[in-house]
Symmetry: C2
Subunit: 502 residues, 2 copies
């Protein structure tokens, strides 16, 4: 492995994050919460760490296949570590594990919190908390649409051809170009959401924090009552709309924007399946709530149902209703949605809509093969035939997913956490959602869990966010024994005109 080259990149990332650590300062000045020095200190510490890495390790022009995995995992770890400084230094969270948990929850856009009251935090720290979501979301879009397809992780190679780039037909598969284009969409959405929230009477601070948390499908709020704080249908429908957008493949947004047309959405099979699931789940929960007379006004029922469905499937985890009080069938539906997650290439977590879609197409093909033993079938996604390796990777993903879920559940409940709290805490972090049920339900938080459980759950957030394979590969002994041979190369340099080669 090119350890130097990898650490050089991590150094650059830390430097970049140090700059972002200055952004809460204007808020600190405005709200006079006395955090200016603290953020300056955090930024300087971050810059020193980054500078050290840059000073010690020279950049490498080319990185190998293995290095890609190391860069991805180390990036998130380093960001979460540096990002936890403001929580520690401000005294908001005196325990390092708590601060790291909250920071990891931010950068992985999970939204699980150890806080029972968020309003007691200084405003500038709340802004930092939202910023970790937003930066994490940026990272995820690039990871899922530009890096994982190249690494061939968990079936994401399907999206190799989908990477948007400057040329329309032959999309330039360069990470930097891809990133730049997708980030423009991301930033644009953020600005639009801020604008519309302010039009609804939300102040600038809350608007920016919630826009950050929405588009990253994170879920950190600046209010303990979460998105229910405003008691406003306008705000809630606005959040529903932007959560929905955040759960969609960002390359679709880009293409729709480039073509000035809604066709790219409608032609996309994953998007259609995503909308169908949302529609069916909303209808089912709406009826169940009606049958149990949970709501008196059906308008409230529809809004709350739709909000909770979208908040779960996109893994945002915002809450406007304590669904722990809803009929049990709605909980089965909502927990199932937690596993489904957003579309691939969105900021949403979970297993991803496309994997479920292909999983069930696969089951259907199996049944057809039993009925017609000699028939030969192919699985298609839209007009694209799904290669065998992709199908194999996707099915293997489910196997690893079950193994990680089981191991984490055993560890957490083994620490004395009760069954429903423990298993749904794992589900909520592994799928990067935020709240679970019972003790970590919409009305609870992760603060009371044992410290060791928080470490396990932090690992779940990381593993889930990086599509399991990425972390699992690093834990494979063979990975470290592998000889230094670049099977294929990808470049991170700015000047490179060469194409990434397979």
């Amino acid at each position: 492995m090119r350890t130097g080259g990898v650490l050089n990149i991590i150094g650059k990332l830390l430097l970049l994050l140090s700059l972002f650590l200055l952004t809460p300062i204007p808020f600190s000045l405005y709200f006079q919460d006395g955090m200016v020095k603290m953020f300056l200190l955090s930024s300087v510490l971050g810059a020193m760490m980054g500078g050290c890495l840059l000073g010690l390790f020279a950049p490498e022009k080319e990185l190998g296949y293995r290095d890609g995995f190391a860069v991805v995992v180390l990036s998130w770890l380093a960001l979460a570590l540096l990002g936890s400084l403001p929580y520690l230094l401000s005294g908001a969270m005196p325990s390092f594990i708590d601060a790291f948990f909250e920071s990891m929850s931010g950068f992985t856009t999970t939204g699980s919190t150890i806080l029972s009251q968020v309003e007691i935090l200084p405003k500038s720290v709340l802004f930092w908390r939202a910023t970790t979501h937003w930066l994490g979301g940026m990272g995820i879009i690039v990871l899922s649409l530009a890096i994982l397809p190249l690494l061939g992780v968990g079936g994401m190679q399907l999206y190799q051809a989908e990477m948007p780039g400057p040329t329309k037909d032959r999309l330039a598969p360069r990470i930097q170009d891809t990133a730049r284009i997708l980030w423009v969409v991301y930033v644009a959405f953020t600005l639009i959401q801020i604008l519309f929230m302010m039009l609804g009477g939300v102040n600038f601070f809350d608007a920016i924090c919630h826009a950050f948390a929405t588009l990253a499908t994170g879920g950190f709020s600046t209010h303990t009552a979460s998105a229910g704080y405003w008691q406003s249908s306008y705000i809630e429908y606005l959040l529903i709309f932007f959560m929905l957008l955040a759960g969609v493949n960002f390359s679709l947004h880009y293409r729709a924007f480039a073509q000035r047309s809604l066709k790219p959405y409608l032609q996309n099979e994953e998007f259609r399946f995503y909308m169908i699931i949302i529609g069916l789940a909303t209808a089912a929960i709406f009826v169940a709530n009606m049958a149990h007379a949970v709501y008196t006004a059906s308008g409230d029922n529809l809004r709350d149902t739709l909000f909770q469905v979208v908040a779960m499937i996109t893994t945002t985890g915002f809450g406007t209703a304590d669904f722990d009080q809803w009929p049990s069938v709605t909980k089965v539906i909502l927990v199932s949605l937690m596993f489904v997650g957003g579309c691939a290439g969105s900021t949403g977590g979970g297993i991803k809509v496309v994997r479920f879609l292909l999983f069930f197409k696969y089951a259907r093909l199996q049944l057809r093969t039993l009925v017609h033993p000699r028939a030969v079938g192919a699985i298609k996604l839209g007009r694209q035939k799904v290669p065998k390796e992709v199908m194999i990777a996707i099915l293997g993903f489910f196997a690893i997913y079950i193994a990680v879920f089981l191991a984490a559940s055993l560890l957490v409940t083994g620490m004395g956490v009760d069954l429903v709290t423990g298993t749904t805490a794992v589900i909520a972090t592994l799928n990067n959602i935020g709240p679970g049920l019972a003790g970590v339900g919409p009305a609870g938080n992760f603060g009371d869990l044992p410290q060791a459980a928080k470490v396990v759950l932090s690992f779940c957030m990381l593993a889930g966010r990086l599509e399991l394979y990425t972390v699992a590969v690093l834990l494979t002994p063979g990975f470290w024994k592998m000889a230094r041979r670049p099977v294929w190369r990808w470049e991170l340099g700015k000047t490179s005109e060469e194409r990434i080669q397979k």
Copy 2:
């Protein structure tokens, strides 16, 4: 489809079951519970139904591929229907749905009961209840080792070569020969268990009923306190031993018997994995119970832990301890074991040890492929290379399993059953275990569930028992549209010397 030929076989089965309906009569006479006439009537009704089918439909010399699926599913439905008569006619269960549920639970060797008190039933009816288990177990052994491999269901084609027969090298793959050999083992085990239970002071009636329920991994007891009734370590360890045997591939038993050696067990990878899981789960639960001081004597802890682990993994579902009171981590382990189930070719339910074994081998291969992208790997089971079609069928099995589990959970909780009761009721029936958690836990029963939920759960028992595919295929529209063309043939005739052709 050769409907006539299929119904002719069902007719023969009903006639056979009518004979078995006479077997409780000696017990009725001995205990003087007044059920003689009732069993005679049930038997006559069954014989009339069977006779009608035989009279109306002539046998067919050959049956097609499709007919195999229809025979299997209709057999279990017909047996469960006729088997429910004694419950109805004795007045023990006035509701048809309750009687059908209990009968289906018997023939699928599930062991879920709607009774809160079993002792109030007439002894002869209790004997009938145990008999349904025993006959169901016989059916399952033949189904999984002789019929499903030929139908190519859910990866069971792996066992095509394993079917034991008279010739040692070239095993004759004839269903009848296979059945006869395996049943000898099954009957022998039953007799041995009865003997050893009686040596432990259990009366003949209880001994025979519990031997039936143990070897079928059913779980119906003649006492409400289940296997805990005797408060005897000897009996409990005896049951552990025979449950363990019942969870093993019966063709292994046959080969060990034929070779007078334990080698066939030790050389079998699935068997080793089964024993490893049991060992690890027992150790983990033992430690957890010790840490929480659930038991004062560690001997009691070990015995109860081992009993519950074996009762769960073999899907027998006997209870000697109310594990709902154990620490939460033990419940995660026990629920996981419910999914694992017994070895393929045993009377145990669940997903089966071999499928999990291959599933995780597959995940490991996936990770290795990521580390060495050009490496070519193969999945092996023992010395046998697992064909791609088998691997595909096994992975598809998990997909169908998840779909059925989800659909049934939605239906049951949609009827107002609470979350834990509803989902574990589905797990307990789909995996053919018996008890679940909470309302249907070791201390509860299925009697209080809504009638419609019992119908859904009866379907789960059937689908789970028949390895999902068999039932799912019948629900595929294409199955019924298929032209009458025997893709390959299998024979049920007694005289046939021809081999079953592919």
